[in-house]
Symmetry: C2
Subunit: 329 residues, 2 copies
Amino acid sequence: MGTPTTRPATLDDVARAAGVSRATASRVLGGYGFTSADARARVGAAADRLGYVPDVTARALVRGAGVRLVVAVIGRAGTVLDDPYVHRVVSAASRVCAPHGVGVALEWLPLGDPSGLVRLGADRGVCGVVLVNTTPAALAAVPARLQGRVVSIGTGSATVPSFDVDNAAGAEAVLRHLYTTGRRRIAMVTGPRWLVCAERSVTAYRGLMRAAGLPERVVTGDFTTARGGRAALEALRRWPELDAVYAASDATAFGVIAALRGRGLRVPHDVAVAGFDDLPYAAVSSPPLTTATHPVDRIAAAAATAVLTRASVAPATAFASTLVARESA
Amino acid sequence: MGTPTTRPATLDDVARAAGVSRATASRVLGGYGFTSADARARVGAAADRLGYVPDVTARALVRGAGVRLVVAVIGRAGTVLDDPYVHRVVSAASRVCAPHGVGVALEWLPLGDPSGLVRLGADRGVCGVVLVNTTPAALAAVPARLQGRVVSIGTGSATVPSFDVDNAAGAEAVLRHLYTTGRRRIAMVTGPRWLVCAERSVTAYRGLMRAAGLPERVVTGDFTTARGGRAALEALRRWPELDAVYAASDATAFGVIAALRGRGLRVPHDVAVAGFDDLPYAAVSSPPLTTATHPVDRIAAAAATAVLTRASVAPATAFASTLVARESA
DNA sequence: GCTTGTGGTGGTAGCGCTCTCAGGTGTGCG
DNA sequence: CGCACACCTGAGAGCGCTACCACCACAAGC
């Protein structure tokens, strides 16, 4: 339980209480090297009698391990940090890191200038980096010292393993649903065009449309609700006949729905709308949004785990995305 | 800029390059003690020529300062960590901490058993704690070593300063709006009853109803959408005549609206619904939700800053909440 | 006997930093 | 001239921990 003393117990205290040397106590607590059953018992007992908690700071110092994981978000402006997507990444990473005594820091890497990575590479406090919204420039800017400590959510590279949702499969599931429910004049509102992983959805959309002999109708979005609304109006202007919109994110879809309604169109009766992400609100929006799942928490947890354990991981891990058919499409 | 060497530069490297002792370099970089203009110039130049970044780990070790801030969420089950509210607290805290080389860790303190605080008190890696969803039990369990390093979002105590939204003012703004738009049979769906800060809204509601000579209609909720829906049905059963619902959170309000519609009632024509939080989705929901602002980001940033700077702060800081009148009420 | 393990232990050198302390060099003043 | 004082500097002692290394005891093999 731990006697509440003024000063937290140190390894020395534990060793002294157990009648062994600091080295032996360290071996027992660290679980390495040879230790007798007797030593293990005594050190263990002493440790939890004193409420011993290892000092991650000292440990990191001597191991050169670092003490916080940086979630580096690449984007156009500081506001990308407000994206609920980023929130979920940070929370999931934090939950993985907490038991290791590792903290999480959220940082912004301006789009086109990922030189901040150099500083992160020089910072000994950093035990690893999770890149969000990867760009080729960022991948190229990863400093040598960080090799093997950087992972990416989104597209990776030979040296940076990636963890991502299977955008193509998600897009296909949604588009197939639109098709089987009779929609043929389907437009897509994309994510930001510089985002490699967002482009995968567009590629999937184009491929599917072509395969079905349907015309391609693409409008650029940026994952936000506001832009989604504007994109919907543009789509309507260019293709007044459209009967479905596939939005690259749920937030976009909400904007699309609001804009369509503003034009007097009924969703899904006149125009079906589907999103991507399956945000919590998607289930309670009006109408409830048809979308595809995006297991951000599992993705971020896997990414953080990979950094923390430094285990060798596959260069690219894809997480399944499945259709959630509700009422908007 | 920093020449990309294999090993990040240390203070020794900087001192040697500047031709001064480590102590002088430390004084210059740390900005304390006496330093000559000459020394300052040379050390500064050497530092950024070498791309020197102080090792927060070593610094924390010698200062006994800790290296991560813990956001401790008190709640019924592990799932409270998925609350978007918590996400925002973590992100805002992280943004404040990042420049200091401090990470953020998210932890869950089971409701009724805040003994985890004892462990945090023994953990030298922890530089402070931000308590979310404070309970009296948690306030009492704060270990001595953590005194002055713990703040609370929600109600505090003599030793734990608090930062919170002005629930009462927010509730009043919303209820006044309902009243002036002609609603008289107003029910409230509350937050969790054990949450001190949530009870402040209920108290405000009761006071206002009483002052207006209106009957009090209170149903217990827990801030979730699902519970909001069930609470709305219960309210409808008990008071079929009601013409407005004040939900203690936007998430609750969404559940309420969905449930009311399920009963064939129109919002706001038959029943007005207002929430509290002003989530991003509130602006695009259908109908757009009337609610009151909850500046979580500013609150969390202030809380984190207080812990980090250890400056003396007022025992309780309230952040204004203002009405956002949209269409649901 | 001597070697070569095998299982266990303690001494101790740092990791990179901060900060105290003992000095050193002026400058002003009695 | 002596003394106080302000300004500046470097040596060095650790912060708590890990891990390298030397050592010891005992057993087995030649």
